[in-house]
């Protein structure tokens, strides 16, 4: 888990007490503020919106063509006043409005603190998950964990390796999604019977490899690195390394593990140690799950 707070919100106010924004300005502002990680509300009516009405502690910057006359709501609010700051953007161009917003943003406690992390992490479809713990056993980066009653959950999203969907490939139930993945069903698209059959076959292949994919990958990586160290010519060595990594990637192609992740795998001892810890955590979670199930049956 990363935080439990909202970032400041921009409200583009086009209600009765402000002139409408120019069409092109509105569209460009919306797009640019969203790209900068700011949530934006377009407010035309007095209808309470999610945040504007319900969260008095959320910081909001209310921008509009007020022409020097701020809406009644700006002066009527009491405890809400500290949460909303009104600014007149009449006559300002896109860059000037964005500068104003950044200035306002710098003055408040923004949980993101300007730092942004590409949110790539597994999302579990609990309607399919059978809690088999294969994902927990497989992941070397502690992304997965279990609740006190032994239910699998994603606990450390930011530990996940960007663009690596490998855990979804070992899931026998096609229950792990990566919403930003390029194709279905991993991206959340509906699952066909062919998808289920294909994923089951991959798990069988994994079992044929002795269930220790990482050992195989590490071994091949070590061989590639050994060949690389023997090369004296830098250019040739670089090409050789690239060739080896490509070969390694093609070997592990079904897993779609990015080259960067393969290249950064820890030593064999560390892999074995991490894999053993993960296996123990999975077994512990399964035992807790069985106990919880037994307790509920006895009630």
């Amino acid at each position: 888990m990363i935080a439990t707070k909202s970032t400041p919100r921009v409200v583009l106010y086009e209600g009765t007490e402000a002139a409408p924004l120019e069409k092109a300005l509105r569209a460009e502002l919306l797009s640019k503020m969203l790209e900068r990680g700011l949530p934006v509300t377009i407010a035309r009516s007095e209808n309470p919106l999610f945040s504007a009405a319900n969260d008095r502690h959320e910081k909001r910057f209310v921008l509009g063509n007020f022409a020097g006359r701020f809406p009644q709501t700006a002066t009527n609010q009491s405890d809400d006043q500290t949460a909303a700051e009104f600014r007149d953007i009449a006559g300002l161009d896109v860059d000037a409005v964005l500068s104003l917003v950044e200035e306002l943003r710098a003055g408040v406690n923004d949980p993101s603190n300007g730092k942004r992390w590409k949110p790539w992490f597994p999302v579990i479809d609990y309607s399919r998950c059978t809690n088999c713990m294969q994902c927990l056993s497989f992941c070397l980066f502690d992304v997965y964990g279990a609740t006190s009653d032994g239910k699998i959950q994603v606990q450390n999203e930011s530990n996940c390796k960007t663009d690596c969907p490998a855990c979804s490939r070992v899931c026998p139930e096609v229950a792990i999604m990566f919403p930003k993945y390029k194709a279905g069903p991993i991206n959340g698209d509906e699952i066909s019977t062919d998808d289920v059959r294909r994923e089951a076959m991959k798990v069988d292949i994994s079992a044929l490899l002795g269930g220790d994919i990482y050992a195989m990958l590490r071994d091949r990586s070590a061989k590639a690195q050994s060949r690389f160290s023997k090369e004296r010519d830098d250019e040739r060595a670089l090409k050789e390394r690239q060739r080896c990594l490509n070969k390694l990637k093609s070997t592990a192609g079904d897993m779609e593990i990015p080259s960067e992740v393969l290249a950064s795998l820890p030593s064999m001892d560390q892999i074995q140690s991490k894999a053993e810890i993960a296996r123990q955590r999975a077994q512990q979670a399964l035992a807790q799950q069985a106990k919880a199930s037994e307790n509920s049956e006895n009630k």
Partner: protein
């Protein structure tokens, strides 16, 4: 006060999976329609951050969400500890619809049937990662 569903738009800011022209086209059409709407940079990011706004959305079934695959969106709310109600918000998939289709689905009158049935995963509420005290 109208009971027209509120609109939530996800910009999927960190990936190229939703075409830029679709996102821009939807924003322009919503802007031109004269309605209130909420835009968030990235629902995945909000889920990972356990953003409180997700709870507010989950408590309001009268919402239309423009984002990606319904199964993924459902999963993101479950992961944040705030499963969407069933039946709940209509999820409009910008990965498969173009800007015009998305905007039409978002803006159609409440009682008008959708052009295409949206499929929801039956996400079972579950203890989630924000119940830190229960972790093993």
């Amino acid at each position: 006060m109208t009971d027209q569903p509120r609109i939530l738009y996800c910009h999927c800011a960190f990936a190229q999976v939703i075409p830029k022209d679709v996102k821009q086209g939807v924003l322009e059409r919503l802007g031109d329609a004269g309605v209130d709407f909420e835009c968030v940079p990235d629902l995945c990011e909000m889920s990972a951050n356990r953003d409180p706004i997700l709870q507010q959305i989950a408590e309001n079934p009268n919402v239309r969400i423009a984002a990606c695959y319904p199964r993924a969106v459902q999963g993101l709310f479950v992961a944040a500890g705030h499963p969407l109600p069933q039946p709940g918000p209509e999820i409009i998939n910008m990965r498969v619809l173009n800007a015009e289709e998305t905007a039409a689905a978002l803006l159609r009158p409440r009682d008008e049937l959708p052009a295409e049935t949206n499929v929801y995963a039956e996400a079972e509420p579950i203890e989630t990662a924000n119940t830190a005290g229960d972790r093993t």
